[in-house]
């Protein structure tokens, strides 16, 4: 139980750090005009690759709730889309060579597009999304894929504790 609480606290800390960085990127690069990477989706991909457990699913959902809370009063769309992306990765990542930076970046790019589509469809159920500039979505995915190796390292440092790895080995 202690380990699970510690894991979620680490995930919270990582999520907050990435949100602050994302805030700063938006602030300095004037996000109203340019696409800025969605850093949390990279963490979701990391969890989808290396933590295919129920705990991993909850971590993704938890990070989604955090992103929802940080951007608007509607809680759920990012949480749902992150859980969806995790589900897809859970069934596909076994067939991927996830240690390669290139393949990871490609997966992050695709995951970003999928999560955005899921987010938009969930948001559309409660809010008018007519007139959204869809053109920026691929650019956001591209910038996310480019920075993914850095965030992967950060995620490994924050989420992949030695204890967890050992426990993983034992369970195998």
């Amino acid at each position: 139980m202690k380990n699970i609480i510690a894991h979620f606290l680490r995930a919270l800390l990582l999520g907050l750090c990435l949100l602050v960085i994302q805030n700063l990127l938006h602030f300095y690069f004037h996000a109203v005009e340019y696409a800025v990477p969605n850093l949390l989706i990279i963490v979701i991909c990391y969890v989808g690759f290396f933590d295919l457990t129920v705990k991993g699913a909850f971590t993704c959902w938890f990070l989604g709730v955090l992103l929802d809370l940080s951007i608007s009063s509607i809680i759920g769309p990012w949480a749902g889309s992150f859980a969806g992306v995790f589900l897809i990765l859970a069934f596909l990542s076994r067939g991927m060579f996830v240690q390669s930076w290139f393949s990871s970046a490609v997966v992050v790019f695709l995951a970003c597009l999928v999560s955005t589509a899921m987010y938009a469809s969930m948001l559309a159920s409660v809010q008018n999304i007519e007139g959204i500039a869809w053109l920026y979505v691929p650019f956001e995915a591209l910038s996310t894929a480019i920075v993914s190796p850095l965030v992967f390292s950060l995620s490994r440092f924050a989420l992949d504790r030695r204890q967890d790895r050992l426990r993983g080995r034992r369970s195998r």
Binding site: N23, V32, L67, I75
Partner: protein
């Protein structure tokens, strides 16, 4: 991965997606819960954002100074130091001049309109491009409340949607969920300005028989009880009369450059100033409570503070 584990993950993910859908629908109808949560997260993040902004400003300042000094580095060390000092001072002075200009424009707006309020600094933009929002460094403790209008020197910026003790969230007028009751200044046509994202807005519900031209000024009507009457929203940038339909399709460019906000002004109330009355009689009439234009201005903010600043309220 064992089949059982896969099954468990599948079940949990489906449950989480279903739960998220339910949460989306619930918080979409009851935004208060979401706003409270958002305020808490904002409160958690705002000190870090402020520190980071300070650090980044310093870093960018140092980088700028370094780049500026590259050319003279080889000439003379003494001269270099002198230039370095001058450059740093120059940067400081330039910043001070820009800030001075910005604050003067805010003060000017404050004096012209008789607005009371709080000057705030923008500490962060929303981390997603899907929503158009900013966080400011003033919160509940400074007198900021949900539903207050936020302006900049040139016009409307948005409204407060969540407050924590020392920071607040502002929904920009370009957000998809934003709506402002508006008037086209020249033709007096009424409509609702809705956000389209990416620094664009649309003026909706203007019937086809109304005359609206490109470059017309669009101002707030004051009828939504959030924005005082007469504040500039933007200018008409495109008018299209479609072959079918009741309304015109009008695009509005906001008066304020929302991608470069640094200091904003949160309107907390209006001061009735004698200068805004056309004659002394009008002033006394207002004191007796019989001057309709000005009283509607004050009513909008003081007697009916808004709590649900969404489209539903404004329509």
């Amino acid at each position: 991965m064992a089949i059982v584990e896969r099954g468990r993950i599948f079940g949990v993910c489906i449950a989480l997606i279903a739960g998220s859908l339910f949460l989306t629908a619930y918080t979409g109808k009851n935004p208060t819960i979401g706003r409270r949560g958002a305020a808490s997260i904002d409160q958690l993040m705002s000190p870090v954002s402020q520190i980071n902004r300070g650090v980044f400003d310093q870093v960018f300042g140092v980088v700028d100074a370094y780049i500026n000094l590259q050319g003279v580095k080889e000439k003379n060390k003494e001269l270099q130091e002198k230039i370095s000092r001058l450059e740093t001072k120059n940067l400081e002075l330039t910043e001070a001049r820009i800030e001075n200009k910005r604050l003067r424009s805010l003060l000017n707006l404050k004096q012209q309109e008789g607005l009371q309020g709080i000057t705030a600094t923008v500490i962060s933009y929303d981390p997603s491009s899907w929503t158009q929002g900013i966080s400011i460094d003033r919160g509940y403790a400074d007198g900021v409340r949900v539903g207050m209008a936020v302006v900049e020197g040139n016009g409307i910026v948005g409204q407060i949607v969540a407050t924590s003790i020392s920071s607040s969230k502002v929904l920009l007028l370009t957000d998809h969920s934003s709506g402002i009751d508006a008037i086209v200044q020249s033709s007096r046509s009424r409509g609702v300005v809705e956000g389209l994202g990416r620094n664009r807005c649309a003026l909706r519900y203007v019937t086809r028989d109304e005359v609206v031209s490109v470059n017309d000024r669009v101002i707030s009507s004051g009828a939504d009880a959030i924005y005082p009457r007469g504040l500039l929203i933007g200018r008409v940038s495109d008018v299209r009369n479609q072959a079918a339909g009741l309304f015109q399709s009008i695009e509005v460019t906001p008066a304020v450059d929302l991608s470069r906000l640094e200091t904003v002004f949160v309107i907390s109330g209006l001061t009735i100033k004698p200068e805004i009355f056309s004659s002394e009689d009008d002033f006394h009439a207002e004191k007796d409570g019989s001057a309709p234009i000005v009283s509607s201005k004050t009513d909008a903010l003081q007697s009916a503070p808004p709590s649900q600043p969404t489209k539903e309220v404004q329509r």
